[in-house]
């Protein structure tokens, strides 16, 4: 593999041992995947944050790295195992302490500690054509597909190394020839809400690490694409997809290809509904509803608040999001509405990487196909996958007569 004189100096240790180690990792990955050279990156998204996933081994590594490693491109962190600011969720003291040490190590490395899987909603936004090193699978799918920047599905140490050197090896999705479609998915019916996750799950299984090209009957929003990509990347290993007439590279995706040579599948309402049913492992009412996989946007929080306004939940509810989005929800009054109904806005973490299995819940309600896919295996709990209105279970209001007239109240307030 070709290295510039500057890159050779980095590998030789002229910029310290952290840079040297990081460069060695980048070069080794490049050798394994037959890269010819390195490319400069403009952004990194770093996974390997929750103590639940990386454990003591990861913690020790990061504490050592933090002594002299510093990132040189804008870098953000993946979700952690706890909300870093609230302590009413029930996680153990030991877990919390170790988690905070991990965050502190990343902070010392100058990585922005917005622990979110949606860095693209909170300011880590490259431009089309940029090379980046992102390692959260749903964010990889988003940044490649919706933004048109270029990244492979990096592992945590690979993305961290890239952020320290400002470089990554040029292979895989950094090369335009690997960004072409290899499966056409014709969706025959109009879709909305959790249908996107169900289709993502179905197609991810079929395409593996390929590049699907979707033809939808209706236009999709940013939030729809967020759900679609997360599901594609969890049931399969999809890093990039295209949507006809919508995503930035859809024209290039088919250029030079004979469409008749491509595998084509069609998906209709019956396929979607079957997948929706298959993703649930229980028909019970969930005791905890967990929304925000990937982390909720402000529009999604607004929709949740509208459904909860003036009501009282029987289920517990977590709406997982990032701290900048929560700050906006606070200002808009959505947080207050959700908390009055008995829900919580939970930042920095989610149902996949938090140890929710330690909190005594049995059935988790989700509107995310990715979460439905991971909660049974990563937390050992049952899951119900459905649209939000079907997961919510409200208290029945009692009507009381008072001196001042009729008021409606809830039994458990």
């Amino acid at each position: 593999m070709y290295l510039t004189p500057e890159e050779e100096k980095m590998e030789a240790g002229e910029y310290g041992t952290a840079v040297q180690k990081a460069m060695e990792i980048i070069i080794a990955l490049g050798e394994i995947y037959n890269a010819e050279r390195l490319v400069d990156i403009t952004s990194a998204q770093i996974s390997g944050v929750s103590f639940k996933t990386i454990g003591d081994a990861g913690l020790e590594f990061l504490v050592d790295m933090a002594i002299d490693a510093r990132v040189i491109v804008p870098s953000t962190l993946n979700p952690a195992g706890i909300d870093l600011e609230r302590n009413d969720l029930g996680f153990s003291k030991e877990f919390t302490e170790k988690q905070l040490k991990i965050i502190d190590a990343y902070r010392k490395m100058d990585i922005t500690t917005t622990c979110t899987c949606t860095p693209y909603l909170v300011g880590n936004v490259p431009v089309k054509g940029d090379h980046v090193a992102w390692s959260e699978s749903s964010a990889v799918a988003y940044v490649n597909s919706v933004i048109g920047a270029k990244t492979n599905r990096e592992g945590g140490p690979g993305a961290l190394s890239a952020a320290i050197c400002g470089k990554t090896a040029e292979y895989g999705f950094h090369l335009d020839e690997n960004r072409k479609a290899n499966l056409i998915v014709d969706v025959e019916d109009e879709i909305k809400g959790v249908d996107y996750g169900a289709i993502g799950y179905l197609v991810g299984k079929a395409v593996g690490d390929g590049v699907p090209y979707f033809k939808f009957k209706n236009r999709s929003s940013v939030n729809d694409l967020k759900s679609l990509g997360a599901a594609l990347a969890s049931s399969g290993a999809v890093a990039l997809y295209h949507v006809e007439n919508l995503t930035p590279e859809y024209k290039e995706a088919l250029q030079g290809l004979d469409i008749n040579d491509l595998e084509q599948i069609s998906v209709d309402r019956a396929d979607i509904d079957k997948t929706r049913r298959k993703l649930s492992t229980s028909t019970e009412k969930p005791d905890l509803i967990c929304l925000g996989c990937p982390h909720s946007s402000i529009e999604e929080i607004k929709t949740i608040a509208e459904k909860l306004e003036g009501k009282r939940l029987k289920n517990q509810l977590w709406v997982c999001t990032s701290i900048p989005v929560k700050a906006t929800a606070d200002r808009m009054g959505y947080t207050e509405i959700i908390e009055k109904a008995g829900g919580k806005l939970v930042c920095d973490t989610c149902m996949v990487v938090a140890p929710i299995e330690e909190l005594g819940f049995q059935v988790i309600g989700v509107d995310s196909a990715k979460a439905a896919n991971y909660v049974p295996s990563m937390c050992g709990l049952d899951v119900v996958f459905d649209d939000l209105q079907n997961l919510l279970d409200f208290e029945t209001p009692e009507t009381k007569l008072t001196k001042n007239g009729v008021i409606r109240a809830f039994k458990n307030l």
Partner: protein, 138 residues
Amino acid sequence: MKKTIKCRKISRGKATGEVIVTQDPLSFLGGVNPEKGTIIDPGHGLYGKNISGKILVLPAGKGSTVGSYVIFQMAKNKTAPLAIISLNAEPIIATGAIMAGIPMVDQPNVNILDILREGDIVEVDADSGIIILLNSHK
């Protein structure tokens, strides 16, 4: 008699020691006890054996990417292998070996799994891209 085998450097360094050989890919997360260095996956050919201080010879890594951190932790615990020879390196073990400062090579120009037996002594010189067989069972 010394025999030299060409290979590719993955992680820098040199080491000489006894080999431990497996035909099975290995997941360090869940497959190895990082406190002791023993293989704890009952389905693995080296189940119950210790890889600490040995030159681990295996086809490839597998499993969770957290395995990289486990290799690092083993190095801190002084339970890590002395060096690693892989037929084809994959990112999990390659990254872990570099993080841990363990010499590692791959793509030997002969099928080393057929040549080496447990207890053979080899030198791994990753910087020069060679493996030297010092004391073979043959």
